[in-house]
């Protein structure tokens, strides 16, 4: 008979769980954390100073020009938005499917979502060229005419989709943390900590009636987030698919983008969780190698889906008989930007196939390297979509090249500093694993005496 592996190893008691998870919040940062934080802060400085220069001097600093009117900003926006999707998949969709293993990683994945969407949000604003007029995107009676927005534009759908996604993700994340903030408040030794976490917990007390409403709301939010997250990347893909450019104007884009988003997001979750496990060794009992293996399986599966989408695009380009369409795809694979196409295919389709081997799925160094490759590959996927489609359109007179400048590099590289600074702060200010959600799944895979039921027998993850 199959038995489940233990979700939480080390035969923890309820009190030990509380102690283990609160420890990073309640102790002095280690030298490793400080070093990472300083590195992230330096990168953040590059980001801020590049943004100041671009906003101050103008978009001419970046590579965006005729004919490539969408450049690093849009590529990097789609990249970060995609990363966010795995967090909602883990916290909402796996919750609806009653996947108990999600509990250990849901909080950090959700934090990753919030920070990735925050990072992503900067880029379309920057791309408008006049970010100080960003409020023009909102529909409200104004004194500019009144000049309203065009509700038929996919770019405006994006504004609504991304801002709704951001708001709901933040709320979902915060609601999940309220009981844990109450735990931190009740453990607090000094007054400032007591006041800060008391305010964050809103005075939560956890009566059975509160929990009953709480669980219902959590279920509702998961139910709402599920179609929401699918809609967000669908609408992002509409930015491309609704236009008439060969290479963009395809109906496969919504599912292709959603699969790619989940793929890249899990890549980032694996990258971050390997680092969290190294930084906080006690978390290894909660985020076990089994958790990492399951995520690697998802990376491999979604990698295959993305590969299938690449193949379908080529097939349809040929099958449609449209010469412009087939030109774009031949140009992608063998034209001047073929190097970016083959980086994409190698990183997204071939390298994740290594996860067919169990030893690689369960090796921390291997999965770290592969997850970095996935991140690189997925950035290049958006590069391929944006740049190769634009650089050679219908008329050869319109052809041109994309000249990546230092400003493009600065915002791309710097955005990681922004993201990592937020994530590192989060790791020390909030419980990085949901304490209240973890305790009910404590007994999964344990026998009646609280011991590992699967040891010695066959097992099933």
């Amino acid at each position: 008979m199959f038995t489940r592996d233990q979700l939480i190893t080390g035969n923890k008691t309820l009190e030990q769980i509380t102690n283990d998870i609160c420890e990073p919040v309640e102790t002095v940062p280690t030298i490793k954390w400080v070093a990472l934080m300083l590195g992230a802060n330096s990168t953040l400085l590059i980001f801020v100073s590049t943004l100041i220069m671009i906003i101050g001097l103008g978009m001419g600093l970046m590579a965006v020009n005729h004919p490539i009117g969408w450049g690093t900003d849009i590529i990097t926006f789609v990249f970060w938005i995609g990363i966010g999707h795995a967090g909602t998949l883990i916290s909402a969709i796996l919750f609806l499917f009653r996947q108990k293993w999600r509990t250990s990683i849901a909080r950090s994945a959700e934090a990753m979502t919030v920070f990735a969407v925050m990072t992503a949000g900067i880029f379309p604003l920057l791309h408008t060229g006049r970010p100080w007029l960003g409020y023009w995107l909102l529909p409200y009676p104004n004194q500019r005419g009144p000049l309203w927005i065009n509700f038929r534009s996919p770019l405006l759908w994006d504004v609504f989709a991304v801002s709704t996604y951001m708001t709901v993700s933040v709320v979902f994340w915060y609601v999940g943390m309220v009981p844990d903030f109450a735990t931190l408040r009740d453990r607090a030794k000094n007054k400032i900590r007591k006041i800060a976490y008391g305010a964050l917990s809103l005075g939560w007390r956890g009566t059975a009636r509160n929990w009953s409403h709480y669980e219902m709301t959590y279920l509702l939010l998961a139910g709402l987030s599920t179609p929401l997250v699918l809609s967000v990347h669908t609408i992002v893909s509409f930015d491309f698919a609704v236009s008439q450019l060969p290479g963009w104007h395809t109906t496969i884009f919504p599912p292709y983008f959603v699969a790619g988003a989940i793929f890249s997001g899990f890549g980032m979750v694996v990258t971050l969780m390997t680092l969290v496990r190294i930084g906080f060794p006690k978390f290894k009992d909660y985020v076990t190698i089994n958790h990492m293996e399951v995520m690697n399986k998802i990376i491999m599966t979604t990698g295959l889906m993305v590969g299938y989408a690449y193949a379908t695009e080529f097939f349809i380009a040929w099958y449609s008989g449209n010469p412009f369409e087939s030109f774009v795809f031949i140009n992608r694979a063998f034209g001047p930007y073929a190097w970016s196409y083959w980086i994409m295919v190698t990183c997204n389709v071939f390298i994740p196939q290594l996860f067919w081997w169990k030893s690689i799925r369960r090796s921390i160094p291997a999965m770290f390297v592969i997850s970095i490759c996935v991140n690189i590959g997925m950035w290049f996927e958006r590069f391929v979509i944006v740049v190769t489609s634009l650089h050679r359109d219908f008329l050869p007179a319109n052809w041109g090249d994309f000249i990546f400048t230092w400003a493009d590099f600065g915002v791309l590289f710097g955005s990681f500093g922004f993201f990592l600074t937020l994530f590192l702060l989060y790791l020390r200010l909030a419980p990085a694993i949901s304490i209240a959600e973890l305790k009910p799944v404590l007994n999964v895979g344990r026998d009646n005496n609280g011991h590992d039921a699967s040891s010695g027998g066959t097992h099933h993850g």
Partner: protein, 177 residues
């Protein structure tokens, strides 16, 4: 901020004994009582006789409200206030609506989500509470409690404390909540 109430509380260290005690408390005829747990204990709703949460009704109603609002806003702006011809796309209400679906969907989800959370935090759980009395700091970590309110018709602290002890409570006392 409401004045604190006097309650008699028993503290348990085992989830299963807590559920059993909650069931006995209800069967003993107490009406105004509640449990405090560090995490959602499954089965306690049935044991205590807690009804299903009403928050889904709020979620659904506000979702419909958000949907109606978005249908009105998009059509009002695109048809009445700022009608612009974009590639000959239709302006009239039903012909134009497919292009507004993403907006309508997102606004419905936003209304439904925010209203549910507001209902949970500010109505159902009566938060925020400033400096609420904490019966035992371990109640958000590894201990469980049941308390009976003094407003209950059969409130008698000595008797309740004795019963809680019989039902497995490690500790009982009269306190404020």
């Amino acid at each position: 901020m409401a004045k604190n109430k006097k309650v008699t509380v028993g503290i348990w260290e085992d989830e299963h004994k807590l559920i059993e005690a909650a069931r006995k408390t209800r069967e003993a005829g107490f009406k105004i009582f509640d449990a405090i747990t560090p995490y959602p204990v499954h089965g306690i709703e049935e044991a205590m006789g807690i009804k299903r949460s009403w928050i889904p009704y709020i979620c659904f109603s506000f979702g419909i409200l958000g949907c109606t609002f978005a249908v009105w806003l998009t059509n009002y702006v695109a048809e009445t206030e700022w009608p612009i011809n974009i590639g000959g796309k239709p302006l009239t209400l039903w012909a134009a609506s497919p292009g507004f679906m993403p907006i309508i969907f997102e606004v419905s989800v936003l209304f439904a989500a925010l209203s549910s959370v507001a209902a949970l935090l500010f109505v159902a759980c009566d938060l925020p509470k400033i400096n609420p009395p904490i019966i035992d700091p371990a109640l958000t970590s590894h201990k469980f409690a049941i308390f009976v309110d003094e407003a209950d018709a059969s409130y008698n602290t000595a008797k309740i404390q004795q019963q809680f002890k019989e039902w497995g409570a490690k500790e009982t006392r009269e306190t404020e909540f």
